[in-house]
Symmetry: C2
Protein backbone atom coordinates (compact mmCIF):
# COMPACT_ATOMS: atom_id res chain seq x y z
CA UNK A 1 0.00 0.00 0.00
CA UNK A 2 1.62 3.27 -1.08
CA UNK A 3 1.60 6.12 1.45
CA UNK A 4 -1.06 8.29 -0.19
CA UNK A 5 -1.87 11.95 0.44
CA UNK A 6 -5.66 12.02 0.69
CA UNK A 7 -8.34 14.69 0.95
CA UNK A 8 -11.32 13.04 2.72
CA UNK A 9 -14.85 14.30 3.32
CA UNK A 10 -14.07 17.84 2.24
CA UNK A 11 -17.26 19.83 1.72
CA UNK A 12 -18.01 22.58 -0.76
CA UNK A 13 -21.09 24.30 -2.15
CA UNK A 14 -22.24 23.81 -5.72
CA UNK A 15 -20.24 26.93 -6.60
CA UNK A 16 -17.06 25.60 -4.98
CA UNK A 17 -17.08 27.51 -1.68
CA UNK A 18 -15.73 25.70 1.40
CA UNK A 19 -16.05 28.40 4.08
CA UNK A 20 -17.37 31.90 4.54
CA UNK A 21 -15.72 35.21 5.19
CA UNK A 22 -15.38 36.85 8.63
CA UNK A 23 -14.35 33.71 10.50
CA UNK A 24 -14.64 34.16 14.28
CA UNK A 25 -14.59 32.11 17.50
CA UNK A 26 -18.37 31.96 17.34
CA UNK A 27 -18.51 31.19 13.61
CA UNK A 28 -15.73 28.82 12.51
CA UNK A 29 -17.09 28.92 8.95
CA UNK A 30 -17.70 32.66 8.91
CA UNK A 31 -20.93 33.70 7.27
CA UNK A 32 -21.58 30.14 6.06
CA UNK A 33 -23.73 27.81 8.15
CA UNK A 34 -21.62 24.61 8.08
CA UNK A 35 -24.72 22.51 8.60
CA UNK A 36 -25.71 23.37 5.03
CA UNK A 37 -22.54 21.67 3.82
CA UNK A 38 -22.14 18.84 6.37
CA UNK A 39 -25.72 17.65 6.89
CA UNK A 40 -25.17 14.60 4.66
CA UNK A 41 -22.32 13.37 6.90
CA UNK A 42 -24.06 14.14 10.17
CA UNK A 43 -26.95 11.88 9.13
CA UNK A 44 -24.73 8.78 8.84
CA UNK A 45 -24.19 6.06 11.43
CA UNK A 46 -20.40 6.54 11.28
CA UNK A 47 -20.30 10.32 11.88
CA UNK A 48 -17.55 10.68 14.51
CA UNK A 49 -19.42 13.35 16.49
CA UNK A 50 -22.63 11.28 16.64
CA UNK A 51 -24.08 11.23 20.14
CA UNK A 52 -27.26 9.21 19.53
CA UNK A 53 -27.62 5.73 18.03
CA UNK A 54 -29.03 5.32 14.54
CA UNK A 55 -28.00 6.97 11.31
CA UNK A 56 -27.94 5.81 7.71
CA UNK A 57 -25.65 3.02 6.46
CA UNK A 58 -25.81 3.61 2.73
CA UNK A 59 -23.43 5.39 0.34
CA UNK A 60 -22.83 8.45 2.53
CA UNK A 61 -21.87 6.20 5.42
CA UNK A 62 -19.23 4.39 3.35
CA UNK A 63 -17.58 7.72 2.66
CA UNK A 64 -17.88 8.97 6.23
CA UNK A 65 -16.35 5.86 7.74
CA UNK A 66 -13.42 5.89 5.34
CA UNK A 67 -12.29 9.19 6.91
CA UNK A 68 -9.65 7.69 9.19
CA UNK A 69 -8.98 4.37 7.48
CA UNK A 70 -5.24 3.91 7.02
CA UNK A 71 -4.50 7.49 8.04
CA UNK A 72 -1.43 8.15 10.24
CA UNK A 73 -1.21 11.96 10.22
CA UNK A 74 -3.13 15.08 9.16
CA UNK A 75 -2.01 18.39 7.70
CA UNK A 76 -4.25 21.44 8.13
CA UNK A 77 -4.07 25.17 7.57
CA UNK A 78 -4.05 27.57 10.47
CA UNK A 79 -7.60 28.74 9.81
CA UNK A 80 -8.94 25.22 10.26
CA UNK A 81 -7.33 25.22 13.71
CA UNK A 82 -8.61 28.64 14.78
CA UNK A 83 -9.80 32.10 13.69
CA UNK A 84 -6.77 34.03 14.95
CA UNK A 85 -4.53 35.98 12.56
CA UNK A 86 -0.96 37.09 13.25
CA UNK A 87 0.92 36.17 16.45
CA UNK A 88 -0.94 33.94 18.91
CA UNK A 89 -2.18 36.14 21.73
CA UNK A 90 -3.80 33.44 23.83
CA UNK A 91 -2.04 30.09 24.07
CA UNK A 92 -4.93 28.71 26.13
CA UNK A 93 -6.86 28.38 22.84
CA UNK A 94 -6.41 24.73 21.80
CA UNK A 95 -8.63 24.43 18.75
CA UNK A 96 -12.38 23.97 18.24
CA UNK A 97 -12.62 20.33 19.22
CA UNK A 98 -12.47 20.11 23.03
CA UNK A 99 -10.55 17.45 24.97
CA UNK A 100 -10.93 14.66 22.37
CA UNK A 101 -10.33 16.00 18.86
CA UNK A 102 -11.51 13.53 16.20
CA UNK A 103 -8.15 13.25 14.40
CA UNK A 104 -6.41 10.78 16.78
CA UNK A 105 -3.04 11.14 15.03
CA UNK A 106 -0.29 13.76 14.85
CA UNK A 107 -1.66 16.89 13.15
CA UNK A 108 0.61 19.44 11.46
CA UNK A 109 -0.82 22.97 11.51
CA UNK A 110 0.77 25.22 8.88
CA UNK A 111 1.37 28.72 10.28
CA UNK A 112 3.93 31.50 10.12
CA UNK A 113 3.64 31.76 13.92
CA UNK A 114 4.90 28.63 15.60
CA UNK A 115 3.99 27.69 19.17
CA UNK A 116 4.55 24.64 21.40
CA UNK A 117 2.84 21.38 20.46
CA UNK A 118 -0.48 20.48 22.13
CA UNK A 119 -1.64 16.98 23.04
CA UNK A 120 -5.38 16.46 23.54
CA UNK A 121 -6.55 12.85 23.91
CA UNK A 122 -5.02 10.83 21.06
CA UNK A 123 -4.28 13.92 18.94
CA UNK A 124 -1.08 16.01 19.02
CA UNK A 125 -1.01 19.34 17.16
CA UNK A 126 2.40 20.48 15.87
CA UNK A 127 2.79 24.03 14.51
CA UNK A 128 5.13 24.33 11.56
CA UNK A 129 6.28 27.26 9.42
CA UNK A 130 7.42 25.68 6.16
CA UNK A 131 6.38 24.98 2.58
CA UNK A 132 4.00 22.21 1.53
CA UNK A 133 6.67 19.69 0.53
CA UNK A 134 8.61 20.12 3.78
CA UNK A 135 5.50 19.81 5.95
CA UNK A 136 4.47 16.73 4.00
CA UNK A 137 7.87 15.16 4.70
CA UNK A 138 7.28 15.65 8.44
CA UNK A 139 3.77 14.23 8.21
CA UNK A 140 4.89 11.19 6.21
CA UNK A 141 7.48 10.35 8.83
CA UNK A 142 4.98 10.80 11.67
CA UNK A 143 2.46 8.58 9.86
CA UNK A 144 4.75 5.53 10.10
CA UNK A 145 3.87 4.21 6.67
CA UNK A 146 0.17 5.02 6.84
CA UNK A 147 -1.48 7.68 4.67
CA UNK A 148 -1.56 11.43 5.24
CA UNK A 149 -4.91 13.19 5.29
CA UNK A 150 -4.89 16.72 3.93
CA UNK A 151 -7.58 18.23 6.12
CA UNK A 152 -8.07 21.63 4.52
CA UNK A 153 -9.19 24.35 4.40
CA UNK A 154 -9.54 25.14 0.73
CA UNK A 155 -6.48 27.39 0.65
CA UNK A 156 -4.27 24.64 2.04
CA UNK A 157 -5.64 22.07 -0.41
CA UNK A 158 -5.00 24.50 -3.28
CA UNK A 159 -1.42 24.95 -2.06
CA UNK A 160 -0.82 21.19 -2.14
CA UNK A 161 -2.55 20.81 -5.51
CA UNK A 162 -0.38 23.56 -6.94
CA UNK A 163 2.69 21.65 -5.73
CA UNK A 164 1.23 18.42 -7.21
CA UNK A 165 1.40 16.63 -3.85
CA UNK A 166 -2.16 15.19 -3.68
CA UNK A 167 -2.95 11.57 -4.61
CA UNK A 168 -6.72 11.29 -4.03
CA UNK A 169 -9.55 13.69 -3.18
CA UNK A 170 -13.06 13.08 -1.94
CA UNK A 171 -14.99 16.34 -2.22
CA UNK A 172 -18.69 16.35 -1.31
CA UNK A 173 -20.57 18.99 -3.30
CA UNK A 174 -23.75 20.09 -1.54
CA UNK A 175 -26.77 21.46 -3.42
CA UNK A 176 -26.44 24.98 -2.01
CA UNK A 177 -25.03 28.12 -3.61
CA UNK A 178 -22.97 30.44 -1.42
CA UNK A 179 -21.66 33.11 -3.78
CA UNK A 180 -18.70 34.38 -1.76
CA UNK A 181 -16.15 32.84 0.57
CA UNK A 182 -13.04 30.67 0.49
CA UNK A 183 -13.09 28.84 -2.80
CA UNK A 184 -11.73 25.38 -3.64
CA UNK A 185 -12.41 25.62 -7.36
CA UNK A 186 -14.44 27.33 -10.03
CA UNK A 187 -15.22 23.87 -11.38
CA UNK A 188 -14.04 20.32 -10.61
CA UNK A 189 -13.04 20.11 -14.27
CA UNK A 190 -9.93 22.12 -13.41
CA UNK A 191 -8.38 18.93 -12.01
CA UNK A 192 -9.15 16.62 -14.94
CA UNK A 193 -5.78 17.13 -16.60
CA UNK A 194 -4.14 15.36 -13.68
CA UNK A 195 -6.88 13.25 -12.10
CA UNK A 196 -9.48 10.65 -12.96
CA UNK A 197 -12.90 11.58 -11.59
CA UNK A 198 -15.93 9.55 -10.50
CA UNK A 199 -18.97 11.78 -10.02
CA UNK A 200 -21.36 9.93 -7.68
CA UNK A 201 -24.74 11.50 -6.83
CA UNK A 202 -26.02 10.34 -3.46
CA UNK A 203 -29.71 9.87 -2.65
CA UNK A 204 -29.12 12.44 0.13
CA UNK A 205 -28.65 15.18 -2.49
CA UNK A 206 -24.88 15.63 -2.12
CA UNK A 207 -22.72 14.73 -5.12
CA UNK A 208 -19.52 12.93 -4.19
CA UNK A 209 -16.50 13.74 -6.36
CA UNK A 210 -13.78 11.10 -6.15
CA UNK A 211 -10.46 11.99 -7.79
CA UNK A 212 -7.35 9.89 -8.20
CA UNK A 213 -4.13 10.51 -10.10
CA UNK A 214 -3.89 9.68 -13.76
CA UNK B 1 -20.23 0.41 17.30
CA UNK B 2 -22.85 -2.37 17.24
CA UNK B 3 -21.66 -5.80 16.11
CA UNK B 4 -23.28 -5.87 12.67
CA UNK B 5 -23.88 -8.82 10.36
CA UNK B 6 -22.77 -7.56 6.95
CA UNK B 7 -22.86 -8.84 3.38
CA UNK B 8 -19.96 -7.16 1.57
CA UNK B 9 -19.03 -7.14 -2.11
CA UNK B 10 -21.52 -9.84 -3.06
CA UNK B 11 -21.96 -10.01 -6.82
CA UNK B 12 -25.03 -10.89 -8.86
CA UNK B 13 -26.16 -10.52 -12.45
CA UNK B 14 -28.89 -8.09 -13.46
CA UNK B 15 -31.33 -10.99 -13.11
CA UNK B 16 -30.16 -11.81 -9.58
CA UNK B 17 -27.93 -14.83 -10.26
CA UNK B 18 -24.80 -15.22 -8.08
CA UNK B 19 -23.34 -18.50 -9.38
CA UNK B 20 -23.92 -21.03 -12.09
CA UNK B 21 -24.98 -24.64 -12.03
CA UNK B 22 -22.62 -27.63 -12.25
CA UNK B 23 -20.00 -26.30 -9.84
CA UNK B 24 -16.73 -28.24 -10.07
CA UNK B 25 -13.09 -28.01 -8.95
CA UNK B 26 -12.27 -26.40 -12.27
CA UNK B 27 -15.28 -24.05 -12.27
CA UNK B 28 -16.05 -22.69 -8.78
CA UNK B 29 -18.94 -20.68 -10.27
CA UNK B 30 -20.23 -23.49 -12.45
CA UNK B 31 -21.30 -22.42 -15.93
CA UNK B 32 -20.89 -18.73 -14.99
CA UNK B 33 -17.63 -16.94 -15.76
CA UNK B 34 -17.00 -15.11 -12.45
CA UNK B 35 -14.98 -12.46 -14.28
CA UNK B 36 -18.26 -11.20 -15.74
CA UNK B 37 -19.49 -10.47 -12.23
CA UNK B 38 -16.24 -9.46 -10.47
CA UNK B 39 -14.45 -7.37 -13.10
CA UNK B 40 -15.43 -4.10 -11.40
CA UNK B 41 -13.65 -5.16 -8.18
CA UNK B 42 -10.59 -6.59 -9.90
CA UNK B 43 -9.97 -3.22 -11.54
CA UNK B 44 -9.61 -1.40 -8.20
CA UNK B 45 -6.41 -0.53 -6.35
CA UNK B 46 -7.64 -2.27 -3.17
CA UNK B 47 -8.54 -5.62 -4.73
CA UNK B 48 -7.00 -8.13 -2.25
CA UNK B 49 -5.77 -10.49 -4.99
CA UNK B 50 -4.09 -7.67 -6.94
CA UNK B 51 -0.58 -8.64 -8.02
CA UNK B 52 0.41 -5.52 -9.98
CA UNK B 53 0.45 -1.88 -8.85
CA UNK B 54 -2.17 0.53 -10.15
CA UNK B 55 -5.92 0.21 -10.19
CA UNK B 56 -8.73 2.72 -9.82
CA UNK B 57 -9.35 4.70 -6.61
CA UNK B 58 -12.89 5.92 -7.24
CA UNK B 59 -16.25 4.66 -6.03
CA UNK B 60 -15.61 0.96 -6.70
CA UNK B 61 -12.40 1.17 -4.69
CA UNK B 62 -14.21 2.58 -1.65
CA UNK B 63 -16.49 -0.44 -1.68
CA UNK B 64 -13.69 -2.94 -2.30
CA UNK B 65 -11.55 -1.65 0.54
CA UNK B 66 -14.41 -1.71 3.02
CA UNK B 67 -14.53 -5.52 2.64
CA UNK B 68 -12.58 -6.30 5.81
CA UNK B 69 -13.03 -3.08 7.78
CA UNK B 70 -14.18 -3.90 11.29
CA UNK B 71 -14.78 -7.57 10.44
CA UNK B 72 -13.81 -10.21 13.01
CA UNK B 73 -15.30 -13.40 11.51
CA UNK B 74 -16.95 -14.74 8.35
CA UNK B 75 -19.77 -17.21 7.82
CA UNK B 76 -19.98 -19.05 4.49
CA UNK B 77 -21.93 -21.89 2.97
CA UNK B 78 -20.25 -25.13 2.09
CA UNK B 79 -20.40 -24.48 -1.63
CA UNK B 80 -18.36 -21.32 -1.25
CA UNK B 81 -15.66 -23.45 0.38
CA UNK B 82 -15.67 -26.22 -2.23
CA UNK B 83 -17.65 -28.09 -4.88
CA UNK B 84 -18.01 -31.37 -2.95
CA UNK B 85 -21.40 -32.73 -1.95
CA UNK B 86 -22.08 -35.28 0.81
CA UNK B 87 -19.33 -36.67 3.09
CA UNK B 88 -15.84 -35.23 2.54
CA UNK B 89 -13.86 -37.81 0.61
CA UNK B 90 -10.55 -35.95 0.50
CA UNK B 91 -9.52 -33.98 3.57
CA UNK B 92 -6.45 -32.69 1.70
CA UNK B 93 -8.78 -30.23 -0.05
CA UNK B 94 -8.46 -26.99 1.91
CA UNK B 95 -10.53 -24.52 -0.14
CA UNK B 96 -9.91 -22.53 -3.32
CA UNK B 97 -7.61 -19.93 -1.88
CA UNK B 98 -4.17 -21.49 -1.40
CA UNK B 99 -1.88 -20.90 1.60
CA UNK B 100 -3.10 -17.33 2.35
CA UNK B 101 -6.87 -17.09 2.09
CA UNK B 102 -8.03 -13.46 1.96
CA UNK B 103 -10.34 -13.70 4.99
CA UNK B 104 -7.71 -13.40 7.79
CA UNK B 105 -10.25 -14.17 10.53
CA UNK B 106 -12.05 -17.26 11.82
CA UNK B 107 -14.41 -18.55 9.09
CA UNK B 108 -17.43 -20.72 9.91
CA UNK B 109 -18.37 -23.07 7.07
CA UNK B 110 -21.95 -24.33 7.35
CA UNK B 111 -22.16 -28.02 6.41
CA UNK B 112 -23.97 -31.19 7.48
CA UNK B 113 -20.61 -32.97 7.32
CA UNK B 114 -18.23 -31.63 9.93
CA UNK B 115 -14.47 -32.12 9.73
CA UNK B 116 -11.45 -30.84 11.71
CA UNK B 117 -10.66 -27.12 11.57
CA UNK B 118 -8.02 -25.90 9.09
CA UNK B 119 -5.62 -23.00 9.67
CA UNK B 120 -4.05 -21.39 6.58
CA UNK B 121 -2.11 -18.17 7.17
CA UNK B 122 -4.26 -15.85 9.26
CA UNK B 123 -7.48 -17.71 8.43
CA UNK B 124 -8.97 -20.64 10.35
CA UNK B 125 -11.90 -22.55 8.84
CA UNK B 126 -14.32 -24.20 11.30
CA UNK B 127 -16.95 -26.63 9.99
CA UNK B 128 -20.28 -26.45 11.79
CA UNK B 129 -23.58 -28.30 11.40
CA UNK B 130 -26.17 -26.01 12.93
CA UNK B 131 -28.85 -23.46 12.11
CA UNK B 132 -28.17 -19.85 11.15
CA UNK B 133 -28.78 -18.35 14.60
CA UNK B 134 -26.50 -20.86 16.32
CA UNK B 135 -23.69 -20.42 13.80
CA UNK B 136 -24.03 -16.66 14.14
CA UNK B 137 -23.65 -16.95 17.91
CA UNK B 138 -20.35 -18.79 17.39
CA UNK B 139 -19.15 -16.22 14.86
CA UNK B 140 -20.08 -13.28 17.08
CA UNK B 141 -18.07 -14.73 19.94
CA UNK B 142 -15.07 -15.41 17.67
CA UNK B 143 -15.25 -11.85 16.29
CA UNK B 144 -14.46 -10.34 19.70
CA UNK B 145 -16.84 -7.41 19.30
CA UNK B 146 -16.08 -6.78 15.62
CA UNK B 147 -18.59 -7.34 12.84
CA UNK B 148 -19.48 -10.62 11.15
CA UNK B 149 -19.27 -10.83 7.37
CA UNK B 150 -21.82 -13.10 5.75
CA UNK B 151 -19.77 -14.30 2.80
CA UNK B 152 -22.34 -16.19 0.75
CA UNK B 153 -23.21 -17.92 -1.45
CA UNK B 154 -26.68 -16.78 -2.31
CA UNK B 155 -28.36 -19.75 -0.59
CA UNK B 156 -26.62 -18.95 2.69
CA UNK B 157 -27.52 -15.27 2.46
CA UNK B 158 -31.15 -16.20 1.79
CA UNK B 159 -31.09 -18.46 4.85
CA UNK B 160 -29.92 -15.56 7.07
CA UNK B 161 -32.37 -13.13 5.49
CA UNK B 162 -35.21 -15.56 6.14
CA UNK B 163 -34.14 -15.67 9.81
CA UNK B 164 -33.91 -11.84 9.84
CA UNK B 165 -30.27 -11.94 10.98
CA UNK B 166 -28.71 -9.52 8.44
CA UNK B 167 -28.00 -5.84 9.28
CA UNK B 168 -26.46 -4.47 6.06
CA UNK B 169 -25.91 -5.75 2.51
CA UNK B 170 -23.71 -4.48 -0.29
CA UNK B 171 -24.71 -6.28 -3.47
CA UNK B 172 -23.01 -5.31 -6.74
CA UNK B 173 -25.32 -5.88 -9.70
CA UNK B 174 -23.38 -6.36 -12.93
CA UNK B 175 -24.84 -5.52 -16.36
CA UNK B 176 -24.99 -9.13 -17.53
CA UNK B 177 -27.95 -11.50 -17.75
CA UNK B 178 -27.36 -15.14 -16.81
CA UNK B 179 -30.81 -16.75 -16.95
CA UNK B 180 -30.17 -19.79 -14.76
CA UNK B 181 -28.12 -20.52 -11.67
CA UNK B 182 -28.15 -19.89 -7.94
CA UNK B 183 -30.40 -16.92 -7.35
CA UNK B 184 -30.16 -14.24 -4.63
CA UNK B 185 -33.43 -12.54 -5.56
CA UNK B 186 -35.96 -11.99 -8.30
CA UNK B 187 -35.68 -8.26 -7.55
CA UNK B 188 -33.94 -6.16 -4.88
CA UNK B 189 -37.39 -4.72 -4.09
CA UNK B 190 -38.11 -7.93 -2.16
CA UNK B 191 -36.06 -6.52 0.72
CA UNK B 192 -37.62 -3.06 0.89
CA UNK B 193 -40.11 -3.99 3.58
CA UNK B 194 -37.24 -4.47 6.01
CA UNK B 195 -34.36 -2.41 4.57
CA UNK B 196 -33.54 1.06 3.35
CA UNK B 197 -31.82 0.95 -0.05
CA UNK B 198 -29.36 3.27 -1.78
CA UNK B 199 -29.01 2.38 -5.48
CA UNK B 200 -25.65 3.74 -6.65
CA UNK B 201 -24.65 3.34 -10.32
CA UNK B 202 -20.88 3.28 -10.76
CA UNK B 203 -19.09 4.68 -13.82
CA UNK B 204 -17.71 1.12 -14.25
CA UNK B 205 -21.18 -0.12 -15.20
CA UNK B 206 -21.94 -2.04 -12.02
CA UNK B 207 -24.81 -0.80 -9.84
CA UNK B 208 -24.09 -0.94 -6.12
CA UNK B 209 -27.07 -1.77 -3.92
CA UNK B 210 -26.57 -0.74 -0.30
CA UNK B 211 -29.18 -1.98 2.18
CA UNK B 212 -29.51 -1.25 5.87
CA UNK B 213 -32.22 -2.12 8.36
CA UNK B 214 -35.25 0.11 8.75
Amino acid sequence: MPQLVRVQNFNVSSDGIAAGEDQSFERPFGHVDPERLFAWAGATASWPMRTEPGGSRGLDDYLTRDYDRGIGAEIMGRNKFGPQRGPWEDLDWQGWWGDEPPFRTPVFVMTHHVRPSITLGDTTFHFVDDDAASVLALAREAAHGKGVRLGGGATTIRQFLDADLVDTLHVAVSPVTLGTGVRLWESPDELLDRFHLDVVPSPSGVVHHLFWRR
